[in-house]
Amino acid sequence: LAIRIPEQQSRAARTKPGIIDCDVHNGLASPAALKPYLASRWYPYYDQGSHIGHKGQAGQVVGTRPAPHFYRKDAMPDEGVAGSDYGLLREQLLEGLNVVKAVLSPLDSTAWVPYGDLGAALVAALNDWMIAEWLDRDDRLTGAVSITVEDTAAAVAEIERVGSDARFVAVLIPIQTREGLGHPKYWPIYDAAVAHDLRVILHVGGMSGTHLATGFPTYFVEQHSGYSQVYGTQVTSIVYSGALDRYPGLDFVLEEGGVAWLPATLWRLDRTWEAMAAHAPHLERRPSEVVRERFWLTTQPFDEPEETRFVPQLLEQLGMNDRLMFSSDYPHWDFDDPARVLPVSLIGKELHEDIFRRNAERCFSFGATS
């Protein structure tokens, strides 16, 4: 089987008039890259690795992964890790794929200790690094605020410190939290996000103490596909908790969770809502309606049906054409190419423009980008 690689030029041409990429990962080239932004009193802890949350046991299936690292090989710069070199990111993503706005979510913090003074100092340094080395450099770049998700007071303080910078458009929460995200301990974070007009991005990462509804699996193929379980649980927890009623401006963006798990989750939520109406009187509205109003969904990894004819069915069942937004996950190994995923020939020009640009313009209040 011959695989045709489209030329860079034609690829950009196919993504005219410009797209928005809602999930891009910039990152520290090396641990040392954070130090200019970190007070020296933290260096001994940082140098000794005290900042690594869960001591590296964040549920990875040990010894098996897709590659020597989790990156696209061609996205590795001469030095440092993929996503750490602005020039290469600009060339491959912004210019190569005609990305007119990108939402940067550095994942460094999602593996760091999620509470305590060290954690708070680190995310503050990371946000300052984000401003100085990325947001200041290119108008096309916007970012998510990194926080210590399990330390509500520190998280709120950090959102208040940088959240008024309009180039921050969201707060980044790793999907695997210690409690379900409906837990009241997280509500002050939502309050602060709403006050600063920030969306709440839920992205793969973090550590809950387990991985699936049945503990840890054996193989990476199970672990990685199992992320859909985490997203389903968090949507359920948030919907049940009442947080969405308490904070009318609160909107969640589900990133890197896949798509195909959501329709059946909505059907299950609705059936439960009907069957147990007497046991959850605080839920006045059908959960599927609430989710379709308050959650946004990014496309990657688009869990593509084996038969193309099922793609329109999946989108119809999802019923979120106005809330679905393209994401590439650049520079990770399972990157979705905008020239290939959800092509115009399959979903039509109007929907394609909604997914690849217009929905994100509304979600992140970018205004018209073309």
Binding site: G180, S225, S228, T233, Y240, A260, W267, R268, F310
Partner: protein, 347 residues
């Protein structure tokens, strides 16, 4: 075409009902400890929720004859008893044996149209294997039964002796809703309500389906069948697409597989029909059936005495006569070998 009902619940009315089937030392232990029945049955099927209420005093043979066997030519009994919750390596398995002896004496002996699932203790592997060897002497047991909740997915190698023992004896592996293993029932721990746990209950099934599909057990034992009871099942197409996609990128990790995970699901895993997490949109249930590539995936169940609104009616409204016949009888007949096991009753 007759109907075979693959999921009918029964449960001992009280622990005393098990006394005739338990060794004396455990009867005395039960009395001394004031055992009132496994908490896991009540947390799986809460008594306050009429949809799932499962009370031994109300599930009688007369009712099963009137409400199940009136339509069905045969039925498979699911006597979930929370045996997975007993950490004691001798007491737990003794209770499992007692439940199975009770099921044989109180139900199977009394109506030849009834077949049984034998409960086993997945947490005590050698005892589970022994129990499989014991019940396999009785051809009316056609499956073993373990709960969906588990500390690790069931394709994990520690469980293989149980599954291989079942395969050796021609028994299916039934995985049923709920359970209690002390481990959190969701990927982010313990949530605040049964409502949330009920929504999330499909996830444990998804773990096991993915795990069995990739772990290599079916490659070694193509004679094995897994039956997923009471799962909602409309999540299956989405799960298959996701795991297939991951497998295409990660197949080097599981080199024994000779096809995509979904091909293993279609070959070896079956799903009982009730309840159904039904799509709201017109025509979408039929879309899901098409997406399943449903040739022999679904098997009819009433889930008696659980009460769900209109699931089976909606499903059969979407099926051709040929498909309906497969769901009502043929797939279960193949899976459980009904021709041999039920021959006398159906004739």
């Amino acid at each position: 075409m007759p109907i075979f009902d693959c999921d009918v619940h029964c449960v001992p009315e009280s622990p005393a009902a098990l006394f005739p089937y338990l060794p004396e030392q455990w009867v005395e232990f039960m009395k001394n400890t004031g055992f009132k029945g496994p908490g896991a049955v009540g947390t799986t099927y809460p008594s306050w929720l009429s949809m799932l209420e499962t009370r031994g005093s109300e599930i009688t043979l007369e009712r099963v004859r009137a409400e199940v066997l009136s339509d069905a030519a045969g039925a498979l009994l699911n006597c979930y008893y929370g045996v997975e919750a007993f950490t004691h390596p001798y007491y737990g398995p003794a209770i499992a044996t007692a439940v199975n002896r009770w099921l044989a004496a109180e139900w199977l002996d009394r109506d030849p149209r009834l077949l049984g699932c034998a409960v086993v203790t997945p947490q005590h592997v050698p005892a589970a294997v022994e129990e499989i060897e014991r019940v396999a002497e009785d051809p009316r047991f056609v499956s073993i039964l373990v709960p969906a909740r588990a500390p690790v997915p069931y394709g994990t190698e520690r469980y293989w002796p149980i599954w291989e023992a079942a395969a050796d004896k021609g028994l299916a592996i039934g995985i049923t809703f709920g359970g209690a293993t002390g481990t959190p029932p969701t990927p982010v721990g313990w949530l605040s309500s049964y409502w949330e746990e009920y929504v999330a209950a499909t996830l444990a099934f998804q773990s096991h389906v993915a795990s069995f599909a990739v772990c290599g057990l079916f490659d070694r034992r193509p004679d094995l069948r897994v039956v997923i009871h009471e799962s909602g099942w409309t999540w299956l197409p989405g799960l298959c697409w996701r795991v297939d996609q991951e497998w295409r990128a990660l197949h080097r990790e599981v080199p024994w597989m000779d096809g995509a995970p979904s091909t293993y699901v279609r070959r070896y895993i079956r799903f009982t029909t009730q309840p159904i997490d039904r799509p709201a949109g017109r025509g979408q249930l039929r879309q899901v059936i098409d997406q399943l590539g449903m040739d022999r995936l679904l098997m009819y169940s009433s889930d008696f005495p659980h009460e769900y609104e209109a699931g089976n009616e909606a499903l059969f409204g979407e099926l051709s006569d040929e498909e309906a016949a497969r769901v009502r009888w043929e797939t279960a007949a193949e899976c459980y070998g009904l021709a041999d096991r039920l021959a006398a009753a159906v004739a």
